[in-house]
């Protein structure tokens, strides 16, 4: 899956000359915690977050006698380009969702502007967008029951499970497989039926271990 499919395309941006006051107003209006800063031709030049703004205002706020009115004047007279982060962690349009997940994690950022080959901002992908992809992948909210099966870590095990479930004419709506104890994997399946009893029984009769729900790993 590519980031282009999950990114938000209607992005809200700020010009480098926009005031902190204006940037904060846009963030509040759209309930987003950051704005990509773009030049007139749409080239990404930085990113400004609500934290950057707070950090810029805070030192002045510590001066005795500093008033709300002064804070507002400060924010109105300070351009975004003075506080923005210039070395922006970005994703490319051709990056995959996995790339985005690793970037968000490794660089500890909240969102990645997605840039095209010309360096122009095409979208933005945030941690929330990634979580949404996980909600879909886990099948959360789909009418289904869940099974966790421990299988030997060798080829063909998931195929056997799928065949068993298929023999009951039941759809599988989500599949995840993760390493478990030495030589084993835990396969996690969501199945579109309330009647999981016979499926559980058939899986156990085929020699697999079905985890007790109170011992679910994932």
């Amino acid at each position: 899956m590519f980031v282009a499919r999950r990114m938000k395309k209607n992005i809200v941006t700020a010009a480098p000359s926009a005031s902190l006051f204006e940037a904060r107003r846009r963030m509040l209006e759209h309930t987003i915690p950051q704005l990509p800063v773009v030049s007139e031709d749409g080239t990404l030049v930085g990113i400004v977050s609500d934290r950057d703004i707070r950090a810029a205002v805070l030192p002045a706020g510590l001066v005795p006698g500093f008033t709300a009115g002064e804070a507002e004047r400060f924010m109105k007279s300070t351009p975004v380009e003075r506080v923005m982060t210039r070395k922006v962690v970005t994703a490319a349009l051709t990056d995959t969702l996995e790339d985005a997940i690793v970037l968000l994690h490794d660089f500890r950022v909240n969102a990645l502007p997605v840039v095209d080959s010309a360096g122009k901002v095409a979208g933005i992908i945030s941690r929330t967008d990634v979580l949404e992809a996980f909600i879909d992948a886990f099948g959360v909210g789909e009418v289904s029951s869940r099974l966790e099966v421990v299988v030997p870590d060798r080829p063909g095990m998931l195929a056997q499970l799928a065949a068993i479930i298929g023999s009951f004419h039941v759809n599988i709506t989500s599949v995840l497989s993760i390493p478990h104890e030495e030589g084993k994997r835990a396969d996690f399946l969501r199945v579109a039926t309330m009647n999981v009893g016979p499926i559980r029984k058939a899986i156990e009769e085929a020699g697999f271990e079905i985890l007790d729900p109170s011992k679910f790993i994932l």
Partner: protein, 316 residues
């Protein structure tokens, strides 16, 4: 002793699975046998349900869905959409008669011919939405009864207490934006059990915000956790809502012996829940309680729990 309606129809046995299935007529056969053997049926007021008026079904279900269901049965389809919900040629009629059973129980209580009602009906209902059947359910019996009470008996506020081990996604959706029907469900947590809804932040929408309350239980939870939830979560909500009638979506599959789920409620847990709901009904709605059978698939615990449930309804 209280007068308790025994709502049952022999035709409920006609909705039968074309393959091995836990929601079978044997459930009702076992319940009637057992309650007869321990002398409880003769102490209840027999009520024979009738086929409901169209308007009472249409107050909950879409006409297109009813058409689809009727045609699927007439065609001889073995299942409805998802493969877990079976059909036979009688299923449409018996689903109507099942909803008619919930109505008959509600009617007897509303008119005061009985104090309380137990509706031994099937197919069950709480997974059925206005336009979809699933999870062994075709029509939403409890929802139909709630709407019937409001439309025909001038009842304003209805509380539905759903202690079936599965979340009643159908009932929740039907009343999601309705502030006049309060839906409370205690069930095994959606991460572990069908249908995968009923998380604690699902509290209703729009005008109905706050009139849905979900209490998901971790696998292994039993009488203690249920008791705490009834006392500390349900009761304050009922005090605020002040229902005029209480419907129970009475499933007995939270029992520790039930094969479909992973909770450990015992007979004593069901006794406590029944007593607690009756006490709330005495406080707020002149004791009006209509108990409507939902799930429960292990015959021995199903019958022993219903015996206790009925004994409590009778006020022994």
């Amino acid at each position: 002793m209280k007068r308790v309606a025994w709502v049952y129809h022999p035709d409920y046995l006609l909705h039968a699975p074309p393959f091995e299935h836990p929601e079978s007529p044997e459930r009702l056969v076992a319940i009637t046998d057992h309650l007869g053997r321990v002398g409880l049926i003769e102490r209840m007021v027999p009520v024979t349900p009738e086929y409901p008026e169209d308007a009472d079904i249409l107050s909950v279900h879409d006409p297109e869905y009813l058409n689809k269901l009727e045609h699927a049965c007439r065609r001889g389809d073995l299942t409805l959409d998802s493969e877990d919900t079976y059909l036979n040629r009688h299923s449409f009629n018996i689903a109507l008669l099942s909803a008619g059973g919930a109505i008959a129980g509600a009617k007897a209580v509303a008119e005061g011919t009985v104090d309380r009602a137990f509706c031994a009906i099937r197919p069950p209902g709480h997974h059925a939405g206005s336009d979809v059947g699933m999870g062994f359910c075709l029509l939403n019996n409890a929802a139909v009864a709630a709407r019937y009470l409001q439309a025909r008996h001038g009842v304003g506020k209805v509380l539905i207490v759903d202690w079936d081990v599965h979340h009643g996604n159908g009932t929740q959706n039907i009343f999601l934006e309705d502030p006049t029907v309060f839906y409370f469900s205690i069930h095994e947590h959606p991460t572990f059990l069908y249908p995968g809804t009923g998380r604690r932040w699902e509290i209703g929408k729009g005008k109905g915000e706050g009139a849905t309350l979900n209490a998901p239980m971790a696998p292994g939870a039993g009488d203690g956790e249920f008791r705490t939830t009834f006392e500390q979560t349900l009761e304050p909500a009922v005090v605020r809502f002040r229902p005029e009638v209480i419907l129970i979506s009475a499933g007995f599959d939270a029992h520790r012996d039930d094969p479909l789920a992973d909770l450990h409620v015992t007979e004593e847990g069901f006794r406590f829940m029944t007593r607690h709901v009756l006490a709330l009904a005495d406080r707020f709605c002149e004791g009006k309680v209509v108990s409507i059978l939902e799930g429960g698939y292990e015959i021995s615990s199903l019958t022993s729990c219903i015996e206790i449930h009925v004994r409590e309804l009778l006020g022994e």
